[in-house]
Amino acid sequence: MLFREIIILLKKEVVLEWRQRYALNGILLYVVSAVFVCYLSFNLQQGAMDVITWNALFWIIMLFVAFNAISKSFMQERAGRLIYYYTIASPQGIILSKMLYNLILMLLLAVTCLIFYTLVMGNPVQHGWLFSGNLLLGACGFSATLTMISGIASKAGNSNTLMAILGFPVIIPMLLMIIRVSKNAIDGLAIEVSYDEILVLLSINVIVGLLSYILFPFLWKS
């Protein structure tokens, strides 16, 4: 029942996004421009950047892209439409479908970002699978946390600043873990070295997902 609801809501999100493609195109252009600005400000010869900077810069770009992409999830829709959803869908269905949709969006953005980033800055990653797995976990974490935060921020009016101050401190623990695993992947260390971090990352994701599932109905009702 819930599953069907999520699928329908997810389909609705995708269709809406597809009909007015400017938002999607906008955020894709945002990624590309951000990478290009970074490239130009570092004024790099290809591959001249050291690994630590490469890694940190990549994740900082991803973080800002995530904030921009996900902060729209509750602001874009008009109040009337939200009331309509309120009458026909369960809050759990809504939050889960939004999270799932944001996850897909984040994956798309992450791949775009990685391709373009590699193009201009080179790619020092030695352990490709670990890096991609970490990217997937990161996308999950970002979408779960920021969807909930954007729900909170959207209730409080002036959303963009609020979204940033509410979101940054909450996401830092996750970001630190991701950057560390990512560094291990770049250095080509065996996957066993990163087990602890991956475990923490997974458990943060589960906790955040569960809490959103429990807490969102309270937010939705108000």
Partner: protein, 259 residues
């Protein structure tokens, strides 16, 4: 069901009564006087690098215990609010968070003063220092979120949701991340610290007193602010009532005049 309600009312009464009782406040004063005197004057073990700065143990570490305990109370009241929306729960939640943040700020200041004399810098990119700073950022965001909301019920509900969410993010930050990283901080990365064999029994005696004393002080602080808030709320309600009544009376009078 009725029985349950009576029990709940009793619980609230007990907390309110406890706030007014003086025995635990006297105990706080006694414990803290002992902490300050003993912490500054008693003999401490002679340790390399640490030297006399080991005394900070009685003033810095209890701040963190106090902060965690106070913030836990705050989250408990946020959960209570979501289960049963009474503004009183919200007042409890925000004031416990306030007191917790005060402890956090004192902890970070005392910690960085200590770090200046032992590690050589105010801030040395230590995971515990960073974690503490991020934790404070989370709670500052909580207060800003509260200020940006007008309606009382809305404010209480949404900030309760954020409080619970943020607390869950704080736990891995304070308890798991520092354990995955090497740190200069005592108790980490093979450094001596909060272990059975590191602390001698004199130090331990004062330390436990200090933890209890400072935490009680935090509770006292929070309880005073809570009582003040509740009184303010009551005064406001009274004002509103009076205002409405006089308004009503004036209207009645006007009507009788016109008649």
């Amino acid at each position: 069901m009725g029985n349950n309600n009576v029990q709940k009312a009793d619980n609230k009464q007990i907390v309110n009564k406890l706030f007014r009782k003086s025995w635990w406040k006297i105990a706080t004063v006694v414990l803290l006087v002992y902490t300050v005197v003993a912490g500054l004057l008693f003999d401490v073990p002679r340790l390399a690098i640490l030297n006399e700065t080991v005394r900070v143990l009685h003033f810095h570490v209890p701040m963190w215990f106090g902060m965690i305990i106070l913030l836990t109370f705050s989250v408990v009241y946020s959960v209570k609010y979501l289960r049963k929306p009474e503004l009183q729960h919200d007042i409890y939640a925000v004031e416990f968070a306030n007191a917790g943040v005060v402890f956090g700020i004192l902890g970070i200041i005392s910690g960085s003063v200590w770090a200046k004399f032992t590690w050589g810098a105010w801030w040395s990119n230590d995971p515990k220092q960073n974690g503490a700073a991020i934790g404070l950022l989370i709670y500052f965001a909580y207060f800003i979120l509260r200020n940006s909301l007008e309606d009382e019920q809305q404010k209480a509900k949404i900030s309760a949701v954020y409080n619970i969410f943020a607390f869950a993010a704080l736990i891995p930050l304070l308890f798991i991340l520092p354990r995955l990283t090497d740190s200069l901080h005592p108790g980490n990365g093979g450094n001596p610290g909060f272990n059975t064999y590191d602390m001698n029994s004199d130090l331990r005696k004062v330390f436990y007193t200090a933890v209890l004393g400072w935490t009680l002080l935090g509770g006292w602080l929070a309880s005073m602010r809570i009582r003040m808030r509740i009184i303010k709320q009551k005064i406001n309600e009274k004002h509103e009532e009076n205002y409405l009544r006089t308004d009503h009376l004036a209207a009645v009078e006007r009507e009788s005049h016109s008649l």
